[in-house]
């Protein structure tokens, strides 16, 4: 078995003259929580749709759980749970019925349903809502029910397209906890989102996309180095004044401090590396590409 849950080689999706995704190459390791970051139109949803065996790529090859979605969509669907960016729930069904319906659609034997549905409802914290109608649930509950639906066949890989979209802060925290729990169960989670600080906390790796192209990818802490951009160092001097410098790496940072203290004899009392968050990184990387 490959060490990667998902492998994407030269994925291109074109609609006429418009490139939704252009020559995308990615490898997503098993058990990782992988964040796809990018503005609207970056190609995140298109990429997830190809991985979920909904869209045919124009060019390139994709392997999901070892299966090519273009050749063996059923193989991919056994391995993948997909939660689209819209909830798409049957509002006139009860929560239990809704999950039974998807259990049947995934050909899970009926005798396994009670335990399966009980487990899913417990996981998404909807145990007491089993007999409630879907249209009576809050948005956060509906989102969790969508997640339970995607988990009905116990997939190895989860594709979550903008799962936090439209949720209040409390529901977002719950969702983050859920994703972390799924990751601890050994599932590979690919998650696209605009809410970057949350992705930063959840993701073991991220890929930044814009206009269908991959700008950077890797673990959040390393990705800035990989892009060849600088980082910020804040130097506080005696008397309260502060200066900020841009450096490329740690060596350059040491050289800077030596120059300030030894060569320029400045009264340095504190040197702080400004940790760049994912949002800063995203802005910096996408700005760099735009220039």
């Amino acid at each position: 078995m490959s060490e990667n849950a998902i492998e994407i080689y030269g994925l291109t999706k074109r609609y006429g003259d418009l490139f939704a995704v252009r020559d995308l190459n990615l490898k997503i390791p098993h058990g990782s929580v992988y964040g796809l970051i990018g503005p609207n139109g970056a190609g995140k949803t298109t990429t997830l749709s190809v991985l979920a065996s909904l869209l045919e790529p124009t060019a390139g090859r994709v392997l999901v759980g070892g299966f090519d979605p273009s050749r063996d969509a059923q193989g991919v669907r056994r391995k993948v749970g997909y939660m689209p960016d819209v909830m798409g729930l049957y509002e006139n069904m009860r929560v239990n019925e809704y999950l039974q319906f998807f259990a049947a659609a995934y050909r899970i034997p009926a005798k396994e349903w009670p335990a399966l549905i009980g487990g899913l409802l417990e996981l998404v914290d909807l145990t007491d809502k089993g007999d409630a109608f879907v249209d009576g649930l809050s948005r956060g509950m509906k989102q969790r029910l969508s997640l339970a639906r995607a988990l009905a066949h116990d997939p190895e890989i989860l594709l979550l397209d903008e799962p936090a979209s439209g949720l209040d802060p409390h529901a977002r925290i719950e969702l983050r906890g859920l994703v972390q729990e799924l990751a601890s169960m050994g599932k590979t989670v690919v998650i696209s989102s605009h809410i970057l600080p949350e992705l930063e906390e959840m993701c073991t790796e991220v890929a930044i996309m814009e206009a269908g192209a991959l700008l950077a990818s890797g673990p959040p802490k390393e990705i800035g180095v990989g892009t060849g951009q600088t980082r910020s160092v804040k130097v506080r001097l005696w008397g309260g004044s502060e200066k900020t410098f841009e450096v490329a790496d740690e060596i350059e940072q040491r050289d800077l401090v030596r120059r300030l203290v030894v060569d320029e004899e400045l009264p340095v009392i504190e040197v702080t590396t400004i940790e760049e968050n994912l949002e800063d990184l995203f802005l910096r990387v996408t700005k760099g590409q735009r220039q």
Binding site: S53, L54, L55, A73, R77, G88, M93, F101, I117
Partner: protein, 320 residues
């Protein structure tokens, strides 16, 4: 935990459960039975009044009333099916798209044909429910006489068959379009064409033919697409009152015969009775009219289902 157990198609199980839970099913059933009952009453009154005025014997009058009631019920049932089925099925797939529930369904292990058959099954099952609900009314015609069990079975079966055909056509449009409104309107337009468009085309062909050639021979091929003519050919019977609606349509398919009272009169004047059945001459060589009609409809249904399956297949070149 029941209702979705295999081998019942999950989409069919869901549709039946949700459809019967809502108020819509009860409203449709009530209206449907009210209209049928009204027609039953009016037909019975009209036939018995005419019989009383003409001095026809009570047995003959009862048989004639039975046949009239049966055929009118069948015609009204068929008209209601033509009205109800496109409305029920036109939004089957577009509705899933509009509610954004199609994608979660498409990423399950259900194949496009399975999804379509589930939707189709739900529509036909509801029509079956309507037909079964109307059986007590048809039973009235049966009690009056003049109708055989075979005719009742054939009539009911053909109404269900036409419901299936209309459901497949509507499902096809539902898979082609993105909006329910457009799919439903197109489904009704197609149904209207089958019911009213086909005789109009036939009539215009006939007028054109008699204008240019002087003779009146016109192909009736277009009429194999007419649900009422098909029903008349299957369930019209060979005897009965000339005022029974299906008899008139049947004589269109079989012009060499027409009916008066409870006996059949050939165009050469020879009279046949029920006890002396006669093979009706067919206007075409080969298969009977209704067989041709059924074959044509099955062919169209197969093509429509193939197109609909293609439209629902994933992965697709673009989102549909």
């Amino acid at each position: 935990m029941s209702g979705f157990r295999r081998p019942l198609n999950p989409v069919l199980a869901r549709e039946l459960r949700v459809r019967m839970r809502g108020r819509q099913a009860a409203v449709v059933l009530t209206l449907y039975l009210t209209i049928l009952s009204l027609f039953l009453y009016l037909t019975y009154r009209s036939v018995t009044d005419i019989a009383a005025l003409s001095g026809i014997s009570s047995v003959a009058s009862s048989a004639s009333a039975g046949r009239n009631v049966f055929q009118w019920l069948l015609v009204v049932m068929l008209a209601l099916v033509c009205f109800i089925v496109p409305g029920l099925t036109g939004g089957a797939i577009t509705g899933e798209r509009e509610r954004q529930t199609l994608i979660p369904l498409q990423v399950t292990l259900m194949k496009p044909l399975s999804i379509l058959l589930g939707k189709l099954g739900a529509s036909v099952a509801f029509t079956l429910f309507l037909v079964v609900a109307a059986l007590p009314l048809i039973g009235v015609a049966f009690v009056l006489g003049g109708v055989s069990v075979g005719e009742v079975i054939a009539g009911t079966a053909i109404v269900l068959f036409i419901a299936l055909v209309l459901a497949v056509f509507s499902l096809g449009w539902s898979s082609v379009f993105r909006r329910s409104q457009l799919a439903t309107v197109t489904s009704y337009a197609i149904t209207l064409f089958l019911v009213l468009g086909t005789p109009l085309i036939y009539a215009s062909q006939r007028i054109a033919s008699s204008s240019y050639q002087g003779s009146g021979h016109t192909s009736k091929a277009i009429m194999v697409l007419n649900p009422f003519v098909l029903t008349a050919d299957v369930a019209g019977g060979q005897t009965g009152s000339s005022s029974a609606p299906l008899n008139g349509l049947r004589s269109f398919v079989h012009p060499n015969s027409y009916s008066v009272g409870s006996s059949l009169v050939r165009s050469n004047g020879t009279t046949f009775t029920r006890s002396n059945p006669v093979r009706i001459p067919q206007p075409y060589e080969g298969f009977p009219f209704w067989v041709r009609s059924v074959i044509v409809f099955l062919g169209l249904c197969g093509t429509t289902l193939a197109v609909a399956t293609y439209r629902l297949r994933t992965p697709a070149p673009k989102e549909r």
